[in-house]
Symmetry: C2
Subunit: 424 residues, 2 copies
Amino acid sequence: MPRLVMKFGGTSVGDIQRIHRVARHVKREWDAGNELVVVISAMAGETNRLIELTAQVASLHDAREYDSVIATGEQVSSGLVALALQAIGVPARSWLGWQIPIHTTSAHGSARITEIETAELERRLKGNEGRERQVVVVAGFQGLAPDGRLTTLGRGAGDLTAVAMAAALKADRCDIYTDVEGVFTTDPRIVAEARKLSRVTYEEMLEMASQGAKVLQARSVELALVYGVRIQVLSSFLEPERITPMGSDPTAGIPGTLVCKEDEIVEQHVVSGITCSRDEAKVTVRRVPDKPGVAAEIFGLLADANVNVDMIVQNISEADKTTDITFTVSKGDLKNAIKALEPALAHMGQASVISDGRVSKISIIGIGMRSHTGVAKKMFETLGERSINIQVISTSEIKVSVLIDSEYTELAMRALHAAYGLAA
Amino acid sequence: MPRLVMKFGGTSVGDIQRIHRVARHVKREWDAGNELVVVISAMAGETNRLIELTAQVASLHDAREYDSVIATGEQVSSGLVALALQAIGVPARSWLGWQIPIHTTSAHGSARITEIETAELERRLKGNEGRERQVVVVAGFQGLAPDGRLTTLGRGAGDLTAVAMAAALKADRCDIYTDVEGVFTTDPRIVAEARKLSRVTYEEMLEMASQGAKVLQARSVELALVYGVRIQVLSSFLEPERITPMGSDPTAGIPGTLVCKEDEIVEQHVVSGITCSRDEAKVTVRRVPDKPGVAAEIFGLLADANVNVDMIVQNISEADKTTDITFTVSKGDLKNAIKALEPALAHMGQASVISDGRVSKISIIGIGMRSHTGVAKKMFETLGERSINIQVISTSEIKVSVLIDSEYTELAMRALHAAYGLAA
C-alpha cells in the first residue's frame, strides 16, 4: 500500500481548532487507504515558553535537563493529535522518541539521529498479526541518547524527524505542512510576481535553504537528498477535503511544491529561485602581508572562535606587497570575528580591520546553470543596469551569490526575477 | 548514611521563585550528608491546563494518550528542579517514571505501582564506582505500563510516588512538603484553637484522610502503613535554613507532623483529631419489605452502578412488616444512586425514596479509643447538650462518625474540640 509521512509544524497545531483540521488532513489520506506516519511539532509558542522557564531557573543549562523539559512540547501535541484522530474514527496512537526508539547521539540540544527501530511501527502501519492497522503519530524533534536520556535535535528539526522517518520506513512521499503554499521563486513579500514552483530539485532546495529561504530546514533537505525521500511542501490551511489524497503515483496531483530528483522534473528552468539574506556582515582585513600562511592564520583564528565564514575574496597584491582580504560572516558573529582577529593584527604591522553590516547577499539558484552559459553574466548586467555595485561574488555549480548594499535589496530582487523570466 | 525522600507538591513548585526555595530545602539536607530522593509534582495549575486541552480535543479520552499528555507536567517541573539544584552546586539529575522505571499496572489514569527498579538509583545515591553521589529527582505521579506506555497514578498521587520510593529505597523518612504546617487536630479555618499534632499514627492518619482531611492522600498512608515508612508532613513555605536537617534520629527535631507507628508515640491521646465532610448526601428507602435479601438487592444495585456507600443504618420493623433503610453517598453520586434504585422500587409495593443533601459527617478519631471506654458517649452528650440531632452513627475501632444537619457543622466541631481537650 502507498505509504505517506505527514509533518505538521507548530502553527499547524497552534490551537484546538487547528489540531482538528490536522486530523481531517490525516483522515483524507487514511480514507484513501494510505499507510500513514504523522509527525507533530509542539504547539506554536510552547517550545519558547519551556525554554524561557529553563532560562529563568538557571542561566547555564545542563543540556540533558533542558532536553527533558523541552521535549514535553511534542509529547503534548502528539497525544492531542492522536486523540483528535480517534475522535473522528481514525485508529491512531502517539509514539514518543524513546518509545520507537529514535536513537540519537548524546549531543543534547542538537543530537543526530543514528538509527530508527521500525519493526513494531511496520506492524502497526500494516496491521499485521490480526491487529487493526493504525496511524503512527510521532512526537517530532526528539530522540533517545545511548544512556537512556531524552535528546532533542535542534530548532526546526521536526522536518528532520519527518524525513528520517520517511527514509527509515521507505515512504513514497513526505508531506511537510506549513504556513505557506509551497516553495516560491522568491520571497512574495518582496516580489509581488513571485510564483509557487511545482517542482524543485534537492540540490536547488538545499541551496535555497542555505541562502536564506526559511521554508525547509537545510539538514532535512540534505537527508532527503541522501535517501531519495520525495518531499512535498504545502499549506496546512488549505481545506483538507479539497486536496487529492496520495494515490499510486506520489508525484501526481499535488497542490504544493515537490522536492525531488532532477529526472523527475520535466520542465527545467535555468534559474529556479532567487533568495536574499540580510543576516550578513562584511569584514575587510586591509594591508595584510601578501605571503604564504597569512590567509590560513586569519581563517584559523576565526574557526577557533567558532565563526562561520561564508564568502571570501582576496585582492591581488599592492605595490607594497600587502593585500586586502574580505569575507562575510553572519551579523551575530561580527563582534566575535573582529575580536578573534586581534592576535593576527598585533603582528601584521599596518594591517587593520573594517566592517560593514549594511549588506545583503542575493543568490540566483538553478540546476540548469550546469548546462547553460551566460547565467552569471546576465545577473551582473541586470544589476549593472540599475547601478547596483557588486561587492563580493561567490559561486557554486548551481548558484551565484553577490553581496550588495542592503539599500538595493528589493530593487535587485525584482530586477533579477524579471530578467530570468520567473514570473508566471 | 541517612536516607531521606522529600516530596514537593504543585503549590511548592508553583513558580520559579518557589522552585528555588525547594532547591534550598534540598541543599540543607544535602549539606548535612543525607542521601536524597526528591519527588516533584507538576507546577500548580499545569495538570488542570493539560486535562483541559485533552477535554477540548475529545470528550471521550483514550486513557493512554491522556496519560502521555498529563505526565508532561511532572517532566517539566522535575527538570526545572534538577536545574535549580545544579545552579546552587548540588549534583542532581531528573528521572522520569519510565527511566527508573517505576513499573505499574496498565490501568491508565489510576495505575498501581507494581515494582520500582532501584539498582541504578542506589548507585547514584551512594556514588558507587568512582561516581560522584547525586540527588535523585523523580517526576511524581507517573510510571511505565507493561506495554511500554506512560501511566499516571491518579490525582494527588505524587504522595504515593514519594512513599513508594521511600519503601523501595528503605529511606529513613519521607517528608511531604505542602502548603500547611502539618496535620492538625481539626480544620483551623473552622476551629481557631486547632493545634498541629507533633505525631500521629498511621491508623489515625488513614481515618483522617478517609474522613475528609485533605493533607495526605489515603492510598499513600495505606502504603506507608504496610511498609512502615515514616512520613513527615510540613510546610514548604518555612525558611529552608531555619529547619534542622535530618540526622541519625529521623524522629528528632521535626517542625511538622510525624506519621509513624503507635510505639513511636509517647504521649497518647484518646482522640487525636476531628474531621468533617460536607460531601455527603443521605438517602432513605422507606417502607421496604422486612424480609431476607432486600438489603442485598438494594446495595447490589448501588454497587453495580459504581456508587460508593458509606454509612448504613436499618430501623427495626414496623407493624406492617416494612422497615426503612438509610445510607449516605457522596453528593456527586446522589443522582446515580436514586436512579440505580428504580428497579427495586418497581416491585416493592409501597417503598419510596427520600434524600437530603444538607448533611455533614463529623468524625472523632483516636487510637486511644481502643483502650478507653466512654469516648462515644462523650460525643453524643456533647452534641445533645447543643441540641444537635444525630441522624446516623457509624463506628470503627478508632473512629466514631455521626451524620448531622449541616447547619450545625461548625458548632459541633468546636464543641467536640473543646470536649476532648484538643486545644493546646
